[in-house]
Symmetry: C2
Subunit: 501 residues, 2 copies
């Protein structure tokens, strides 16, 4: 009885909260385990019976028995036939030492210096992927690179999703082919052949979880840590980030009116193994790479046996003239890896992109893709395949092309009306944003921050630059916003600039 | 006229195929471009008028004009006012040289040796991820690790998908938070706290594109190339593959009846920086790690400042006794990274997994995840969040637990009836497969191949082993197959074994 009374003291300290979402049995289990781990109940201590404890705590005997069963199963308690239940005598020494030593809450227990990532992890943590850490927030003017979400044919998409999910063939529910769902690969290959003059068979198309994964795979498949790659300066942060994450040195190469300067690249890093380019619409400047420059780049890659990664991210949106064919379609030497996604044509939340790889690299890309995340979503791949093959994709892109041309015009008018003198914009034949030039000498990063504080998103051009000394400017995306939003955004931006300039 | 006639010869060689799916204008464009690139038409050559060529080819003048416009836009042709259209004089030298040198079909043109991947790429290509390259094919007995796809509540899922897609808030369509959709992170955290005794806040949960990505991130965030990690031997191929892909040396550590042998690990690689374990149900042996071994492993990690990656892949399926709490829940030192996915509880085609990281590592994991593939699918995350928070998930798992217990029993009976003497199986308290032991001295890999040829999938135990010398055996998954399929599979396997043994 003495032992029992002594024991009841800590047991009475048990505190079950009946209003908690966590069940009583679970609470009891947690508290008993903590008491054992903290040494409050030492090994060999006899535990009161379920009847006694249930009466004491005012809970059902089943609740107590359930908690005891689990502690027995996990080895914290042991039952001895005919003599009751005890705190396990055989608890490993280590357990007791760990807990006796430092009875503090879990996460704060370890020395800070031991909790950091590897050197590679720390490097990863330092790489900027976007000029804003909030790129995933609700789109608002003038965040670039977001399609007209309000114009997406939701009802059609919902009907197709429902039909597919209802029938859900095993092939959609089980692990997918890491190369991608075959009908989707076929539809992508056909689309790219016709619309982008990409030379490819369906076998060369590898479906990815978006373009960022395509870049990550390209860096890992094509390059070794320490290799050098040319990147456009100014240029897209996502591709540069993927290279750096793969241990690659990024050599900034200036962009002129014809695109990336091959001559400068050769002077700065003649032995580069790869170049990342956006020939259809240089990001963020919007330059369309000239044919001469394309040929020079291909020739360099052929001679140097280097790779060209072509990011054809928004080529569908060309408003005047015909789109230039892809760089890949001009390549006679099999040095171009073509990448694209449905983020700009359908919507970014659909995590589907693609790589078109030279035949000899296909297997390696597929393997790298499988290692990275096995395969893309079954439902999304089936949906996209149907959307493409039934012509919905083409219709949607054509409708958006007309809409985006209008929205660009709306933005041009709004800037002219509200921002004349402060911002200088030119119409653009392509893309989803305009570069709005600020007066020379102004600080685009500071102005962008002030605009953000006033509720307007306008990334500073300088955020995309490594060494390039550019006239300051802001990126103004227009595709996702209607007339009212564009006008309101322009007015807010005008107020910011009036103060800042 | 002489020039014109000479020119018409190659033009007459143009060959438009009216039955092709590729439009006539596109065909004409392709063939003209090829003729220019191959030097058939040299720079400065005059091109016949659209009228002449249209008449000659028997196509509309618009078709020809369209092709010409594109070639003009791309710089292959140039128009001189009043004097017609010419092959561009300014075609870069490089272009002509490339094509004059080697007028062969595109992909076969380059020297083979120049077309290979980097050393890292070649290493990636050599890493096995699964014992079969066809792991994504239609599930058939006894492929392990596939849930009962036929029992998934498709109608409910379809209704939810349709409702979500129809309303599709911008947050679902735009770029997602790389850490994951907040309500899903909350639902996962709550589920793991209650069901797995994981100690975590929603902030520590990072949504991934499945477990394989979680492994890939862990390798990159926690380790540097050249570091050593302990892996269970035999063990899961996916985690080992992710480590190797990250440049990590995998040290095989034997598994005994209590789980991974910490003593052997310390003897073989005392300075390892990480250990990958499956404590709830060792893959593939099915051993449940004892409490003593768990404490010893945690103590080692604490002292060594090493990381433990806990792959809790099928802990939901425990048929007898209560599930042991997660290893993470026992960790007082913040050394455990917990990973799981919905592949076994819902279906693998849903590419959603999760990492629970110690607080100080969360930001680095989120950043690495963003670099790898930005974010997971909007629709799938919204769907999963609703499925969990509305209780459908719990109901489905409970129903499957009962069903899988039955299916395991069915398999045990079928093996007893059809395969007694050839295969030895024991009931298992947990998991989704059984290990069926073959007579000592038999070749499980050869038998597995023969079974595959007979239409039965039964991965050989040896495929998961690095150095471990195990009795030969086959893995028999049972969760995805009904009574008829299990019996038929057992009969086919019996026929194979009768010949082989």
């Amino acid at each position: 009885m003495a032992t029992f009374e002594k024991l009841m003291v800590p047991f009475l300290a048990l505190n079950l909260d009946r209003r908690s979402r966590i069940g009583l049995q679970r609470q009891l289990y947690d508290q008993l385990r903590t008491a054992i781990l903290s040494g409050t109940f030492s090994p060999g201590t006899r535990i009161p019976s379920t009847r006694e404890l249930a009466a004491d705590l005012g809970v059902s005997r089943n609740t107590v028995a359930g908690a005891f069963d689990q502690l027995l199963a996990e080895g914290y308690l042991e039952g001895k036939v005919g003599s009751g239940t005890f705190v396990a005598a055989a608890l490993p020494e280590e357990l007791l030492r760990v807990n006796a030593e430092a009875p503090r809450p879990a996460r704060s227990r370890s020395p800070v210096e031991a909790l950091h990532a590897s050197r590679r992890g720390q490097e990863l943590a330092s790489i900027p992927l976007s000029p804003s850490r909030l790129a995933h927030m609700e789109p608002r003017p003038f965040r670039p690179g977001i399609p007209a979400l309000d114009q997406f044919p939701r009802a059609l998409w919902a009907r197709m999703a429902a039909r597919l999910a209802r029938h859900a063939p095993s092939a959609m529910l089980t692990y997918g082919d890491p190369a991608g769902y075959r009908p989707l690969r076929q539809a992508i290959a056909e689309y790219l052949r016709v619309a982008r003059a990409v030379r490819c068979a369906a076998d060369q198309v590898i479906v990815t979880d978006g373009t960022q994964q395509a870049f990550d795979l390209a860096a890992r498949v094509l390059l070794d840590p320490g290799d050098t790659a040319w990147v456009e300066d100014p240029g897209y942060l996502g591709s540069r980030a993927a290279l750096r994450a793969g241990g690659i040195c990024c050599m900034p190469v200036p962009v002129d009116t014809e695109g990336i300067s091959v001559r400068d690249g050769m002077a700065r890093a003649p032995h580069a193994r790869l170049v990342f380019v956006t020939p259809s619409h240089e990001y963020p400047l919007g330059v369309i790479m000239s044919l001469a420059r394309r040929m020079a780049l291909l020739e360099w890659a052929r001679k140097q046996r280097a790779w060209i990664v072509e990011d054809d991210y928004d080529s569908e949106f060309r408003y005047r003239g015909r789109p230039l064919a892809s760089l890949q379609g001009l390549d006679e030497a099999g040095r171009v890896i073509y990448t694209g996604s449905f983020s700009k044509t359908l919507f970014p939340g659909l995590r589907l992109g693609y790589v078109v790889a030279p035949e000899k690299l296909v297997e390696t890309f597929v393997q790298a893709r499988a290692l990275a995340s096995r395969s893309s979503s079954g439902l999304e791949q089936f949906l996209a395949a149907e959307f493409l093959s039934e012509g919905h994709f083409g219709r949607h892109v054509r409708r958006m092309r007309a809409l985006y041309a209008e929205r660009q015009q709306t933005l041009l008018v709004a800037v002219e009306r509200e921002l004349a003198g402060a911002l200088e914009v030119q119409p653009s034949d392509a893309g989803q944003h305009l570069v709005a030039w600020l007066p020379a000498g102004s600080d685009d990063a500071a102005i962008s921050a002030q605009a953000a504080a006033a509720g307007v998103i306008a990334p500073p051009l300088s955020a995309y630059s490594m060494e390039a000394r550019l006239r300051p400017g802001l990126l103004l995306g227009y595709t996702a916003y209607n007339l009212r939003q564009i006008r309101e955004g322009a007015r807010k931006l005008a107020a910011v600039l009036q103060k800042a300039l």
